[in-house]
Symmetry: C2
Subunit: 367 residues, 2 copies
Amino acid sequence: MANEVSYSTFNVEKLRQFTVEVFLKMGVPINDAELAADVLIKADLRGIDSHGVARLSGYVRLWQKGRINPTPTIRIVHETPSTATIDGDAGLGLVVAPKAMEVAIAKAENAGSGWISVKNSNHFGIAAYHAIMALEKDMIGMSMTNASPLVAPTFSTERMLGTNPICYAFPAGNFPPVIMDMATSAAANGKLEIAQRKDVEVPTGWIQDVQGYPTTDANGLKKGGSLLPLGSDRDHGSHKGFCLSSIVDILSAVLSGASYGPWVPPFVAFLDPLENQPGQGLGHFLGAMRVDGFRPANEFKEHMDNWIQRFKSAQTAPGYDSVIIPGEPEAAAEVERNQNGIPLISVVVEDLKCLSSKLGVEFPEEL
Amino acid sequence: MANEVSYSTFNVEKLRQFTVEVFLKMGVPINDAELAADVLIKADLRGIDSHGVARLSGYVRLWQKGRINPTPTIRIVHETPSTATIDGDAGLGLVVAPKAMEVAIAKAENAGSGWISVKNSNHFGIAAYHAIMALEKDMIGMSMTNASPLVAPTFSTERMLGTNPICYAFPAGNFPPVIMDMATSAAANGKLEIAQRKDVEVPTGWIQDVQGYPTTDANGLKKGGSLLPLGSDRDHGSHKGFCLSSIVDILSAVLSGASYGPWVPPFVAFLDPLENQPGQGLGHFLGAMRVDGFRPANEFKEHMDNWIQRFKSAQTAPGYDSVIIPGEPEAAAEVERNQNGIPLISVVVEDLKCLSSKLGVEFPEEL
């Protein structure tokens, strides 16, 4: 039996203001609070509801636990002309990551490319936010992060890796930019949460139970199971999903000095980080490359348009209108939601109202 | 009914010498012939039989068609301190890619990282060969390439992308390096060829038929079907496999000026490249990053060892001994085959004997 799910819609700017004020209550300086709110609201605008204001009270709880430093000194601890390691000083990843991306972009301006490994950070919101920052400079943007361990490697029953997303953003000419932002698990945790709320089963291949057997129980993860890597099982390439997730973990954390694998500090505040942490906080890896470090930007953009046009017109399978260009649905959601407001599911609204009364920050009326 | 498959084993150095002599017959200068042979033999040593000497006659046929220039002038056509575009002058990818990787490594030595997009090249063998080159300098190596269109994007029936592999190589301390080398399709084409030779069915989710329906017919590709992206179907994240393959295509070809998507020149010589090519030849993207551009190399290696140790000891699912660390099976194959020789399947032996008599190059006796 599927649960009823209801939504209310909120004005974008009012929801943004609420979010800013919550961060201010945490002691985050105004510029950083606005930046952090922008990252969260961007997720809601782009339709990535799991990573927007739905996470706000999670950040507050981490701060209450003393795991987020609202006034970090973010600094470069090691660098070359095109690389650097940044210490996030336990700040909000929503602030640390965009600032690290600025360093990547500045290095790319001088050296052609910039690659930043970040330690001692927290959850950075949607990966796309940071990669997209490179686009206005005619650069290719890249971002990845490790995350709370939920995914079991191929042949294992232990949660060793996060859903560790990878994002690439490519500028185009007449078409919108091509933006790939993907978890390296078969399904993002957000999709599982949606199935849990609706009380429906999930496809085989998303999760396994605590013993390592396939399950369609959307609550399988809560019962000690684990998410499966992209590919789902060995026959279908789950070892490749395991590799992708490991690449993210190594570049984000082993390279920077953050914690990795099963030691990544959990996003949920009710779980304490494991003892004997091998590094500090969680890690990100961010990059920017000047397109004209390879060929003139206008040439690249013309060919990107040609690439997009050709893929959009590819022969479709029965029942489908066209191939979806990565980033197209999110760009459409952004236009629509900027116009009509952001819909929030009732449990999220209740959660934010609770936060509102706890912190004494006024929550906006629905539209 | 499954076919019988038989193998003969050959001395590594004799097989290498044969391969060098075949390239010499193509007019490839001795140093380049030795390099190209080393790339092919490395694939056979590492157990990637589909990409070793099994492909040798394919390169010869491309040369006979005038599609491979045996004496290319490989040159940088655009560069910044950490990036460059290299024109491969239609040379063997087996020669162009390692030379481009040398440029990436030299740039990394000076600028911390080096990123090379290559146009006007041909098939570059196993991606791992090039990424591994970075390891001895305590660098992280990265390589990718686009390839003959065989893979349909999610929702499409058209072959628009290659199996476009991605490889990362990370140095470790006491353990062997971690090397991830993977096609971005659900199954590599080589696996399909093995099933064809054995005349067995393949798992659902590897290929679709010409109309876009799932099939287990190992010959489905020959009948006009296509390989599926990693993830196999939309529910299991095939859009992510499509994204990964597209990232490889864009970085390798749209960025360099090579041909991309369905225009990538086919490896098989009996198929001519499509008309109105948007670029030159196929493209690669190669990278190297100095580990000590981020943190001291010995620290990184200690943590890589800790990472490997922890993943090796992860709780296993029923029936499995341990999590496989990426690159471990290939490293073991290399030790074993260096000792005992390279086994070749009978169809490959026949093909090489035919090449031997055609070119007048002596083929070694089996062990």
